[in-house]
Amino acid sequence: MGSRASTLLREEEIEEIKKETGFSHSQITRLYSRFTSLDKGENGTLSREDFQRIPELAINPLGDRIINAFFPEGEDQVNFRGFMRTLAHFRPIEDNEKNKNASTNEPLNSRTNKLLFAFRLYDLDRDDKISRDELLQVLRMMVGVNISDEQLGSIADRTIQEADTNGDNSISFNEFIKVLEKVDVEQKMSIRFLH
């Protein structure tokens, strides 16, 4: 598969992706073959339907949101570069990278960027704030009809109340970071890509 990728993928592209995302060469070729296997249309880009064929995403209540995260605003196709850029959020943080972070600009897989990715899942209207309505929508996706609307409302209220520190009745990214301060995001939002 590596050879196949190497025939389809130009060296410069690989180099650029490598620079941008930090994946290794073999990881990129491996992921490229995954990309092509997902790509049922054989046109070098993935559509939403392609993603929805992945069972984990299909049954995930937030699956749509995750799929959305792959697509730049207003587009419904994603090419390999974009695909890799999104996946790079989930690259584990390596020890030596921690030291480097200070000097170079932040890589895609830093804690902040991982959190930002998660934040965007909830921030439906992309106004950098999670409002009560957005929480309600997500909640409804997560628990379905099993909890009455009034209770859902109070859950959303409570959530905001817990997290909201500046009293604007919504959760900003900074507040979001604070809430998840103690969660081991680096570890939880990491996928061990094959080397």
């Binding site: 490598k18 290794s24 073999s26 020890d95 030291n99 099993n146 859950i155 520190t165 604007d168 094959l194």
Partner: protein
């Protein structure tokens, strides 16, 4: 995986050499130093690697080639460059090149080298010599070449000199870059080897090597030098292998592989262990649908099963099996034979179901066992073993229960962290993104829902702060009512028992009078629990606490049950004892007569047993077996009742509700009958009391433990099925406390209560004279005395007699009491300090939050000011901001200043929040309720919601 990494590291090294070599062949020598300087370690490497054609890279990746050919190639490539002239060959990357070349060219040398690297001292010396030699030969740098020794380990020839010089320079450069940050995390690096990591590691190895080289010249003390030297040497040994050179490579590869394998194995093993926990899946499934409270019952059931399994192992392994294998067979002696008058009906189903007939004279019951001191070839002391198992059952149970309680108490203290962002965490982190199976996903949905519900209930509880006086009054009232009804039922039981004793002497009894006791008892059991539950509504406790109260109250009621049962039993035993006395005397007399006649007739003093069929022998009532049968019957009927209740009360009801609903006047599912809820308290108490029966009865009926194990096993499956199929979750799903300690406490109590009668019988009542392992002794525990006298050396006997001396026992008891007192006070002190620490932590957290909030809010205020400056006056929005903040903090501690007393906090905070955010809040809030579909819900809902929660 580990393999692959390793290969890739090897490849990378090789690749880099190739890449650089090709560069140098191209004559692009000047480019390289620049590159080195500009890019960091990793970047340079990556680029260097990227330079070379991809196809080659691919080939190498895939072919898994071993390094031998490459080295050869490297050596071949190198040779020309070397030939080209030592002076201008400025190959930096090639610290390994010389070695490689030498590896290819001069293998003998290599062996020598390897030895060197092993042995530090000799290595140093050799290196020095080599260097000196080199220095003489080359006549060039003396100081610079010190560095080279580390790399080349004293084997370098004159032709390498120039390389070394450059190398040193490069190293210095690199060192300047990296040494500052590289030392810290050197040790954890072996796990995964990316390129950057490789480069870093390489540098470190370089550094260490250099250190080894120049350590002689450092102005340090010898000791320090030695320590450092050893460390450096170890480091080099360890990591040199990672870089694909040195003799440590294979070993390193092997080690990395093994580490990874080991980690994987550990993970698999952990998974395996989890998979081995019986019924974990079932219980999790139940938990996800019904909440942790229902699951706690099943966990308790599983725990009981485990304990009973051990008891079963003891009883069967040490008593039943030996008796079956080595004891006398059925029919050999009277106690093992069905008496002749009973024989015709002994196999009838009804008789067997009453555990008479063949059942009664089987290994299941006490009476079957023989009093032979030892049985079989192994001289197994069955009577002793029987007694020991009887006592050991209690000992083991006590130990296990107490140990579990202690362990659970440990767990309980762990979760002090909770409660800060409960909802937010549930909201943002509850979904498991690795779930790929639809069924699992369903369960996860259910469990998320359930956990939200649990949190809601907890929150509501925290926020309840209405009229405290009314609540107190109601609670006192409820307790008063319940005490009254408990007292009433207690008196009723007492009264009925007394009457039944009266009735026992009469013959002309109506059906009711005969069964009065049972009827009253079951009526009480039927009426009281729901009554208690109704009264408990008054108290308005959190359901978790309410469950505990309910359990305690029903427990008290059931104690009456137990009392009557024991009362009747001891009555029976006493009559049996009297009857037995008569028979015993009669049969002894008969035997005497027989022997007298026999010896008179045969003139033979040898006692030959009378020629009688064992089934014809007159025998006593054997009260132990009677008691055992009583307990077995009780257990079996309990099983039947429980299962039938589930079948009718839950299953039939569910079926009716489900299918009659299509043709019924009102909505059965939502209306009156509805589906059943799982009765936690009833089931737990049933389990606890059943276990009490087992403990009491196990001594008299060893088979009872086996029956109980079967019961628990089947009940696990049956109830799991029943609860999933026929029940609906509780209206208020609540979170069970993490420890099952309340259940355990009940169990301990019942264990103690059941211990008493058994110990009493063992210590005081005389065993039957013609059945059971202790027949012929005056007391059951005489078997211990006998063993001490006959089997142990004499001094042990005296030792025991001393130990039994009251003068020794009383101080021992005192000592134990003191120890208990001491431990108790210590644990209290710990608890206090624990609480103190918790408080401090909470305070620190609050303080931090406050500070954060304040800064935030001031910032916010500033922002608001800026925003508002053109529009309105600044005064109103600013002040409320800081005041509002402390409110959320106050809530967790439950002390609500709450001027608006009746408001559920939720709403209060939200309501408070609305006026503050000057522009956005008020605007957004109203549309929330009105605008989208769900909106109206919350709005009204909260209004309505306040009604239900205090319920």
């Amino acid at each position: 995986m580990p393999r692959k990494i390793d290969q890739s590291t090897l490849d990378e090294v090789g690749i880099e050499v190739d890449g650089d070599l090709s560069d140098s062949d191209d004559g692009g020598a000047q480019k390289r130093p620049n590159r080195r300087q500009a890019g960091g370690r990793g970047a340079a490497r990556g680029r260097g690697r990227g330079k070379k054609p991809a196809s080659e890279d691919e080939d190498e990746d895939e072919e898994d080639e071993d390094d031998a050919p490459r080295r050869r190639r490297g050596a071949n490539n190198k040779k020309p460059t070397k030939k080209r002239g030592g002076g201008d060959d400025e190959d930096e990357s090639e610290d390994d090149a010389p070695k490689r070349k030498r590896g290819g060219a001069a293998n003998k040398k290599r062996g020598g080298k390897a030895q060197d690297s092993d042995d530090e001292d000799s290595g140093n010396e050799k290196g020095k010599k080599g260097r000196k030699g080199g220095g003489k030969k080359g006549g060039k740098e003396e100081e610079d070449s010190k560095g080279k020794k580390g790399d080349a380990k004293g084997k370098d020839k004159g032709k390498d000199k120039d390389d070394d010089k450059d190398k040193d320079k490069k190293k210095k450069k690199k060192k300047g870059d990296s040494s500052s940050d590289s030392n810290s995390n050197s040790d954890e690096e072996e796990e995964s080897m990316s390129e950057g990591e490789m480069a870093q590691l390489m540098e470190e190895v370089e550094e260490k090597k250099k250190l080894i080289a120049i350590i002689r010249n450092k102005p340090w003390r010898m000791k320090r030098r030695l320590v450092l030297l050893r460390e450096a040497q170890q480091f080099v040994d360890k990591f040199e292998g990672a870089l694909g050179k040195g003799k440590g490579r294979k070993w390193y590869a092997y080690k990395v592989m093994m580490t990874k394998k080991w980690i994987k194995f550990q993970r698999d093993f952990e998974n395996f262990r989890t998979a081995c926990i019986p019924w974990e899946r079932k219980i999790k499934e139940v938990e996800s649908h019904f909440g942790s409270s229902v699951a706690s019952y099943f966990i308790f059931l599983r725990w009981m099963y485990g304990m009973n399994l051990v008891l079963f192992g003891f009883t069967f392994g040490l008593v039943v099996i030996p008796e079956v294998l080595m004891g006398l067979p059925y029919g050999s002696i009277p106690r093992k034979t069905v008496p002749r008058p009973e024989q015709p009906t002994a196999q009838d189903y009804s008789v067997l179901m009453d555990f008479n007939g063949y059942c009664k004279y089987s290994v299941l019951f006490y009476g079957y066992y023989n009093d032979q001191r030892t049985i079989g070839l192994l001289k197994f002391r069955l009577p002793l073993s029987y007694l020991m198992v009887g006592i050991g059952t209690f000992g083991y149970s006590l130990m296990v229960v107490i140990r579990t309680m202690a362990k659970n108490a440990d767990v309980g203290g762990g979760d002090g962290e909770e409660g800060e962002f409960t909802f937010a965490w549930k909201m943002f982190t509850s979904w498991d993104y690795l779930i790929g199976n639809a069924e699992t996903a369903d369960n996860k949905y259910a469990s998320i829902t359930t956990s939200f519900k649990e949190s809601i209930v907890d929150e509501q509880e925290n926020q309840k702060d209405e009229n405290i006086h009314l609540r107190r009054f109601l609670r006192v009232l409820a307790n008063f009512l319940i005490t009254c009804s408990l007292g009433g039922s207690g008196y009723l039981i007492y009264f009925v028992v007394k009457r039944s004793q009266e009735f026992a002497t009469r013959d002309d009894l109506s059906w009711y009078e005969k069964n009065e006791l049972e009827i009253i008892m079951s009526l009480l059991g039927l009426v009281c629990p729901p009554l208690f539950e109704t009264i408990a509504e008054l108290e308005d406790y959190h359901p978790r606490i309410a469950l505990k109260w309910q359990l305690g109250r029903i427990f008290a009621l059931f104690l009456g049950n137990l009392y009557t049962f024991l009362f009747a039993l001891f009555d029976e035993v006493n009559t049996k004892l009297l009857e037995e006395e008569g028979i015993k005397n009669a049969s002894i007399w008969a035997l005497k007569e027989y022997y007298a006649n026999y010896s008179m007739m045969m003139n033979d003093s040898e006692a030959t047993p009378p020629p009688m069929d064992p089934s014809d022998v007159i025998r006593g009532p054997c009260w132990e077996t009677a008691v055992g049968i009583e307990f077995v019957k009780l257990t079996v009927s309990d099983i039947q009742v429980t299962y039938l209740t589930i079948l009718i009360g839950d299953f039939a009801r569910a079926v009716i509700v489900r299918f009659l609903n299509y043709c019924w006047c009102w909505d059965l599912e939502a209306g009156f009958p509805s589906y059943g809820e799982f009765d936690i308290s009833g089931n737990v108490l049933g389990l606890v009391f059943n276990q009490g029966m087992i403990w009491m009865g196990a001594f008299f009926a060893p088979g009872l433990v086996g029956i109980n194990v079967l019961r628990l096993l089947s009940s696990m499956y049956y109830q799991c099925w029943a609860v999933m199929a026929t029940n609906v979750p509780h209206e208020r799903v609540f979170k069970a406390s993490k420890s099952n300690n309340f259940y355990m406490g009940l169990l301990l109590l019942i264990l103690f209560l059941s211990l008493l009668p058994v110990v009493y019988t063992i210590m005081t009542l005389p065993p039957s004279f013609d059945c059971g392992p202790f027949s012929g002794k005056t007391k059951m525990f005489d078997v211990i005395m006998e063993t001490i006298d006959l089997d142990l050396p004499a001094f042990m006997g005296t030792l025991f007699s001393y130990a039994a001396n009251p003068g020794l026992i009383i101080p021992a008891v005192l000592l134990m009491v003191l120890a208990i007192y001491y431990l108790n006070s210590v644990s209290e002190a710990y608890q206090n300090s624990n609480m103190e620490l918790k408080k401090k932590m909470q305070m620190a957290r609050d303080e931090e939050k406050n500070r954060r909030n304040n800064t935030d809010s001031t910032n916010q205020v500033m922002k608001d000011l800026e925003d508002l400056l053109p529009n309105r006056s600044l005064a109103p929005p600013a002040p409320p901001e800081p005041e509002k903040k402390p409110e959320p903090e106050a809530k967790p501690t439950k002390t609500k200043p709450g001027a608006a007393g009746k408001g559920v906090n939720l709403q209060k905070d939200v309501a408070l929040a609305t006026p503050n955010p000057n522009a956005r809040g008020p605007v957004r809030q109203p549309p929330g309720p009105r605008g989208p579909g769900p909106g109206p819900g919350p709005g009204q809902g909260r209004g309505r919601g306040r009604g239900p929660p205090p319920r």
